[in-house]
């Protein structure tokens, strides 16, 4: 557990997170913990219908309730629309003409207490004309189906058709061709902290916004446009954030508009906190998808071609579905060599709450399908699951070389082979094949998988990621960042990078978190970009500050700057370490001796493989990431064959190539968590059950989230590949395990029972009927 990597002073070693102490003592303030003088409480009025025209909103009774200070409806926003990109601006702060999903917001109230705000909402009278709706892609695609958006015929939100190589020819030449259909469920992000915001106007044109947002950039830009303010007047101050996993806290939601509008109307701070019911019924969730995958292989199990068709339920608004559908396809050509690839994607509007990004975004769906199908293929060919993966795995490119896929994804480092080998060894793979276990009504099986995930996502030209390192006159150091640590530990690694570069300790870096009045603003925690980009920005900023100090040191020592070294807070001449001075002394000299410098280092992120172009989402060509992590996983399950209950055992190993583990324990925690909470949970536990747009399990008892008793004590093995495009060789960490866990678990269930569960989650009843059908089939054969 106490492994260290590389030959560094700070990074590559276990380090306590810079925010851990604040969190473990309860001092850390999250959005809902913030209280301001004169504060009002907000509450949202929501539609009971999944699809309805709004005929009239009467707020008069609510306005008369004592204690109500202001009410806002969609009309207040003057037709403002927003979306994830300019082309997809189809959503309003509050619905004005019609509602498109159940509990969509139509108004909000600010009052002197939570109770009065809630009562006021009940007094708002809304007249609706219910409309027929569509509740899954298959209804949505029907001829003459009701339209979710009148200007979007056929309810098509996103449609892609990509073709690389010649799949038909490849299929014709294949020894074996298989086609299978898989299904992934509608899944909650799962954060325990619900969206919350507090907003106020210190001046008529100055807005302060403090919300549980993983990406402060969205409110910063969108609210500026919404309220017609220069960016410099929108002050976004990040509190601590209780995780995000890619959406709603990443993107805008009703409370983010309501709080500023109500604060504007009342002249007082307004605070709005969602309940877990709000979250489970309306917050963005993972797309449910229906995936058809057809793969052709040679007799030796070498992949020749894959055709992938993905049909997705995008819900009521576009959000980031264009990106989702791109991600489903883009990395199909990783982690195994795939010379021919065809992809058809269809994302539909439905009258369900919107689907959007979630940890493992996009890739999780197709990797699940592909890696389970790979086991099916292995079985048909009589090949071992580990063996077939090794035969197809992409080799780690030699230093200076880059592997290019048929869809022009560029990979400089790929440790998947080493990952697979390490996991196979750790689980005694060869031996376990001979020891199939069953104990009474419990059957055991082990499954294997491999996956990739893109990191350092760059979505458009402006993905500004910058940092400032300020050295105070007494030698203390500030690191100003625009990046948001939503729990993944980015604050810590960025501070560690700065400390490494400057030659000081982690404890010497004081982080100044996002406050857009003073810090750079960064796009946010999504696409596993923070360590790669913010880390690089921190590195560059620290190097800039270091250069300025080293110049002064060089003068002091009468040497060239190249001869100066700073390590462990000591500044010395490399060739003669006797000539040295402590860090504080150098800083004091720099600042106080005429002419006196102000040491501020600035840096921004520049790296990326395809700097000249960005991925073309509709053609499926190019890099969306800067680099790609690789994962291999083995999971053992225990299946109660009488009930269908599946449980992971502690025999769980994950090998992860994140390039270079800057903070090894943090990588482990992230990988363990990604595997269990987003991966295993998708395979075994979680699914929103919907009926005509209504969520049937909108609470944490009926919507099952994974818990401690059932948690496998997964072992994480590090594979180091030192990627040239990440700070100190780092790539993303752990979204890969969100993608590797589901196929590993499903393959394990097959190993234990001989049954393939192709639609997730493998909840007990589903497994039970599958086992029963298998038993009856066997009996019929006799």
């Amino acid at each position: 557990m106490e492994e260290t990597f590389g030959n560094y002073s700070v990074i590559g070693k276990p380090m306590p997170r810079v925010d851990a102490r604040a969190k473990v003592t309860g001092e850390a303030k999250y959005a809902a913990d913030i209280e301001l003088p004169n504060m009002l409480w907000g509450q949202i009025k929501r539609s009971p219908y999944a699809h309805a025209r709004i005929l009239n909103i009467d707020t008069s009774k609510a306005e008369r309730l004592p204690g109500v200070m202001a009410i806002t409806t969609g009309k207040d926003f003057g037709g403002f629309r927003w979306g994830w990109s300019r082309e997809t601006r189809d959503e309003e702060p509050f619905a004005t003409t019609k509602v498109r999903y159940q509990y969509e917001g139509v108004a909000a109230v600010a009052a002197i207490s939570e109770d009065i705000a809630e009562e006021a909402c009940d007094l708002i009278e809304v007249e609706y004309e219910p409309l027929l709706g569509v509740f899954d892609p298959f209804e949505a695609m029907q001829e003459g189906a009701p339209l979710v958006h009148e200007n979007r015929p056929g309810n098509i939100c996103v449609e892609y058709h990509w073709a690389f190589g010649d799949v038909d020819k490849a299929f014709a030449e294949s020894y074996l061709v298989r086609e299978d259909i898989f299904q992934t469920p509608r899944m909650a992000k799962g954060y325990i902290e619900t969206p919350a915001v507090i907003a106020y106007w210190p001046g008529p044109d100055r807005l302060v916004f403090q919300g549980a947002k993983g990406s402060p950039y969205f409110p910063y830009r969108i609210l500026a446009r919404c309220f017609n303010l220069p960016l410099s007047n929108v002050r976004v101050i990040q509190p601590f954030i209780g995780s995000d996993f890619g959406g709603t806290k990443n993107d805008m939601t009703h409370c983010d508009f309501a709080a500023p509008m109500l604060a504007k109307k009342t002249g007082r701070p307004v605070k709005l906190v969602y309940t877990q019911f709000d979250t489970l019924t309306t917050d963005l969730r993972r797309h449910p998808m229906w995936i058809t995958i057809k793969t052709g292989v040679t007799k030796d199990g070498i992949l020749k071609a894959t055709y992938l068709k993905a049909v997705a339920d995008g819900g009521a608004y576009t959000r980031m579905s264009p990106l989702t559908m791109f991600l489903v396809g883009t990395c199909m050509t990783l982690p195994y060599e795939l010379p021919n690839f065809k992809y058809d994607a269809y994302n539909y509007f439905t009258n369900n709450p919107s689907s959007a990004a979630m940890r493992g975004h996009g890739l999780y769906h197709s990797r699940f399908a592909a890696d389970v199908q790979l086991d099916m293929i292995a079985e048909e060919l009589g090949l071992d699951p580990v063996d077939i993966r090794l035969r197809n795995a992409i080799e780690n490119p030699k230093p200076g070389e880059v592997y290019e896929t048929v869809n022009e994804v560029h990979v400089a480092t790929c440790g998947v082979k080493e990952c697979i080998e390490k996991v196979a060894e750790a689980t005694n793979w060869e031996k376990r094949k001979k020891t199939k276990k069953a104990e009474g009504h419990k059957s055991y099986g082990i499954g294997f998988s491999a996956a990739t995930y893109n990191g350092g996502t760059k979505l458009s030209a402006h993905n500004a990621c910058a940092a400032i390192v300020r050295v105070c006159e007494d030698g203390s150091i500030n690191y100003l960042t625009g990046a948001s640590d939503v729990g993944q530990g980015s604050d810590t690694v960025c501070c560690a990078i700065a400390a490494e570069v400057l030659g000081v300790g982690l404890e010497d870096i004081d982080i100044k978190r996002v406050d857009s009045a003073f810090t750079p603003v960064d796009p946010g925690s999504y696409g596993s970009r923070v360590t790669v980009h913010a880390g690089q920005a921190a590195k560059n900023a620290a190097e800039d500050a270091r250069r300025q100090l080293v110049e002064v040191a060089a003068q002091q020592f009468s040497v060239t700057p190249e001869e100066v070294e700073i390590k462990n807070r000591q500044v010395f001449v490399k060739s003669n370490p006797q000539r040295n001075m402590p860090w504080e002394r150098l800083v004091r000299i720099a600042c106080y001796e005429t002419p006196g410098k102000v040491i501020i280092g600035r840096g921004y992120s520049t790296q990326g493989i395809s700097l000249l172009g960005l991925a073309d989402l509709s053609k499926g060509v190019g890099d969306i990431g800067t680099n790609y992590s690789f994962t291999a996983q083995a999971a053992e399950v225990e299946v109660d064959v009488e009930t269908g209950v599946v449980k992971c055992t502690d025999n769980s190993v994950i090998a992860h190539d994140c390039g270079f583990p800057l903070n090894p324990p943090a990588v482990e925690t992230q990988v363990q968590g990604g595997s269990y909470h987003q991966g295993v949970s998708a395979a075994l536990y979680e699914e929103f059950k919907m009926d005509q747009g209504q969520t049937l399990n909108p609470n944490l008892i009926d919507y099952m989230r994974p818990r401690a008793y059932e948690a496998p004590m997964s072992k994480v093995l590090h594979v180091v590949t030192n990627d040239p495009y990440g700070p100190f060789g780092a790539k993303e960490a752990s979204e890969g395990s969100c993608c590797s866990a589901p196929p590993a678990v499903i393959n394990a269930i097959y190993d234990a029972t001989g049954v393939w569960i192709k639609d997730l989650p493998a909840q007990p009843e589903k497994v039970f009927w599958a086992l029963k059908a298998q038993k009856e089939k066997k009996q019929r054969k006799k």
Binding site: M1, P14, P16, R17, D19, A20, R21, A22, K23, V24, T25, G26, E27, A28, K29, Y30, A32, D33, E35, K189, G190, Y191, I192, E193, T194, F240, I241, G242, S243, F245, T275, Q276, F277, V486, G487, Q488, G489, N663, P665, A666, E668, T669, Q670, Q672, G673, G674, S675, Y676, H677, N699, L700, I701, R705, R707, A708, Y709, A711, P712, M713, S714
Partner: protein
């Protein structure tokens, strides 16, 4: 009268309070809104997530599912009362040192459940540790390091490390 304020006398983190509260006030509301102890979190409406866990007379309890008035005459400990001034409790230390904490939202509840466990049972089995935090949902961390940290803390508290 329905919204009449009722007297409440309790000790929170060693400090005695004499308050007047509405009967329907939940203990978590009292702690967060009245006493400004925001370390205890609200994560759900269904007594499911455990983010609101505190200790009442040494026992782990969900403060969202206890009327404040029911804590009358009792000793309540919240996350703010666990450390000894600047000195972290061994459970807190272990969680920090071993990287168990991610977003931190479930952490106060985890600490309170762990503390109640170790105060009563200084030598728990792994199964008992899992049971102790079964009522504390985390979304990030996978529980692995929480379990390990609690075991390490237990050993330390027994005089091990």
């Amino acid at each position: 009268m329905k919204d009449e304020l009722k007297e409440l006398k309790l000790t929170v983190n060693g400090r005695p309070y004499e308050l007047k509260v509405k009967a329907k006030t939940l203990l978590v509301e009292l702690l967060r809104n009245e006493l400004k102890l925001t370390g205890t979190k609200v994560g759900c409406l269904d007594s499911a997530c455990g983010a609101c866990t505190v200790n009442i007379d040494g026992k782990a309890v969900r403060s969202c599912s206890v009327l404040a008035l029911q804590a009358n005459g009792r000793k309540v400990t919240t996350i703010e009362g666990v450390a000894d001034g600047d000195k972290l409790h061994p459970i807190q230390e272990a969680m920090v040192e071993y990287g168990a904490i991610e977003c931190g939202f479930c952490t106060p509840g985890m600490v309170m459940s762990a503390k109640a466990l170790l105060d009563e049972n200084p030598n728990p089995t792994r199964e008992e540790v899992r049971e102790a935090i079964q009522g504390n949902l985390c979304a990030d961390e996978g529980y692995v390091k929480y379990i390990e940290a609690i075991e390490i803390a237990a050993e330390k508290m027994r005089g091990g490390r």
